[in-house]
Amino acid sequence: MISTIGGVHGRLLRVELRDNGGAGWTEPLEPAVFSDVIGGIGLASLLLLRLCPPGADPLGPDNPLIFATSPFAGTGITTSSKIAVAARSPQTGMIGDSLSSSYLALELKRTGHDALAITGTAPEWSVLVVEDGTTHLIPADGLLGLSAGETAERLRAKLGTAFRVAAIGPAGERGVRYAAIANDGRLAGRTGAGAVMGAKRLKAIAVRGSRLPRAADPRAVAALARDLAERSVGPATAKYREIGTVANVAFFNRMGMLPTRNFAGGHFAEAEAISGETLRLEHHTGRHACAACTVGCEHHYRTRDGGPETSARLEYETLFALGSLCGVSDPNVVLRASALCDELGMDAISAGGTIAWAMECRERGIDLGVPAEEIPRWGDGAALLRTLGQIGTREGIGDLLAEGSRAAAERVGQSSEEWAMHVKGLELPGYDPRKLKTLALGLAVAARGACHNRSSAYEVDLSDRLDPEVDARARAAAAAAAEDQAALLDSLTLCKFLRHALGDVHEESAALHRAVTGLPTTVDDLHAAGARIGEVKKRFNLAQGWTRALDTLPPRLLQSESSGDGSPIDPIWLDRQIDAYYAARGWDTEGRPRERERREAVATSSLRSALAQRAT
């Protein structure tokens, strides 16, 4: 079957792992899908809604593991080579979705499919090999215990370097609930897709293909892509090239919003030691770009303390989570910790957030079921590294911390839930909601939990777009608009670092979408798609037991007693913002999409189809 629209194949590859090895087959993706939810995160979310039965065990065979590309992948449009990964999260029980850049997206698309959905469980540890239209399993002999990078290296040596590999590390093998899936040195990090893959006994997926779909208007795509590429290397993205996201540390600290010691405060006295500026001057070794990216934001650093030399890439989120959040000020330790998270294959934000919770438990004398000296103290770099290793192998205290801060606190009790810093089970990113009020709302209502990338509302706070004292309605509208735009970019699989290089995100994206797909896409269509993708995620969460009670912030941020030097958020104020957000979405007061809106405004053929075909 050849797709009737450009840039896509209109095909989903299904793989069911069974005791006899499993089966693979192709299913059509109706053309409306690519206008309704675009691709990437939108497509992965829609497929998850369709394929995941309500109540499916996140680590059981029925939870589908989905990889999805966008119409832009393979077109040469800068930054568009990203793959979306979705599953029911073993960390949150809600939607789990992540994006990872580089070659895997291109290779999956070359197989003649826009997406891959894996269900079932392999009879033994295996590697799924996808080559154009064929699939088969090979044993993962000699791969267990290896990092994702080492696994990819061995598989490419064995199968051929034309293969691209997604793999899990030891953390995924051992079911660490925030384990990641890695490809080409990048990670689909948040919400534990690596644990889902490990539960399916898949150590890796190796992909090779030979045919990309044609764009509807290749000349127009080339011209638009060239223009965007030129702008993508201007001043609007210089921050990412010249210093990277680590630049946030010093500025956030100056503003009192650098999360420090498990969000006890927003000022880290030793922040300069781990600032982006210091790292740039004293540890920087080079810069890399993902496939099909002109921005080149990935910075690499090297330890310089005379100890074992370690190279690592570092982003702000890794730096805050393994640095100030744990009271660690030695950049060499943070670099080693970041490298260790990559090697073990786990999300550094959740790892750091969960360790920070344990550090606070020790300070408060909470019994975590192990001798107190096995629990790291604030700022103890050696203990941080030791604990990360224990999490990756689920040894000692690591077995508890591998569950994430919410589950660990529920198990331990003793009021430790009060300082477990998560939303819906996902640990908070490095933005203090007490200082960023639109983000406070955005994090509370975000479908995948406390995620700055899905909410994006910090952009509103860190700009002059909104008066800080604005009313709830205006703030809710701004938070919803930021979330919708993020959903759109994640579904077009355009990097958010292009935001300031794009004159008007929706206008330029519509022009690109028209040229790639041949569909008559308008700015309004893309605004509607952004909102629709949010509704798809909400409907998935509703099917998995979401209630309004989950749309909240950690008690520490809402209470004055333990909130440290940041002003706490008034719970009544937050409730009012959430009410306004639901109203802005056209949802009822309990945060559920109304049937009338579903029928008339947001629902589309592909969403109706997903709901009708939903697995039970």
Partner: protein, 108 residues
């Protein structure tokens, strides 16, 4: 109603020139790396005036962070005045105002 009393005109005060106050502009990220300092002193009665003086004081910022002609931040950069992001060129800068020059934060 008591009429407003004008000040006596027989002894007018001489016209005096008040120089614009000096403001310490704290630099973060790329601006700090380009200038090689954590802060620079600049003067200006308004934010636009300050930007003009900043580009004179720190030509390394021209074309990369600040517009080479006007000194105004290029896309992706911003002033933060007294903890508020602003693009108000006419914003007055009384003594003691805190001014930061930063890259727009995003992602991580």
């Amino acid at each position: 109603m008591t009429p407003i009393q004008r000040p006596p005109s027989s002894n007018p005060s001489p016209i005096t020139h008040h120089p614009s106050p000096s403001v310490t502009v704290e630099l973060f990220g790329v601006p700090r790396l380009l200038v090689g300092a954590r802060s620079v002193a600049a003067t200006g009665a308004t934010l636009a005036d300050l930007a003009m003086d900043l580009i004179r004081q720190s030509p390394a910022l021209a074309g990369r962070v600040l517009d080479a002609i006007t000194g105004w931040p290029l896309d992706g950069y911003s002033f933060v005045v007294d903890e508020q992001f602003t693009r108000d060129r006419n914003l007055p800068l009384p003594p003691g105002t805190s001014v930061l020059l930063v890259a727009s934060a995003a992602g991580g």
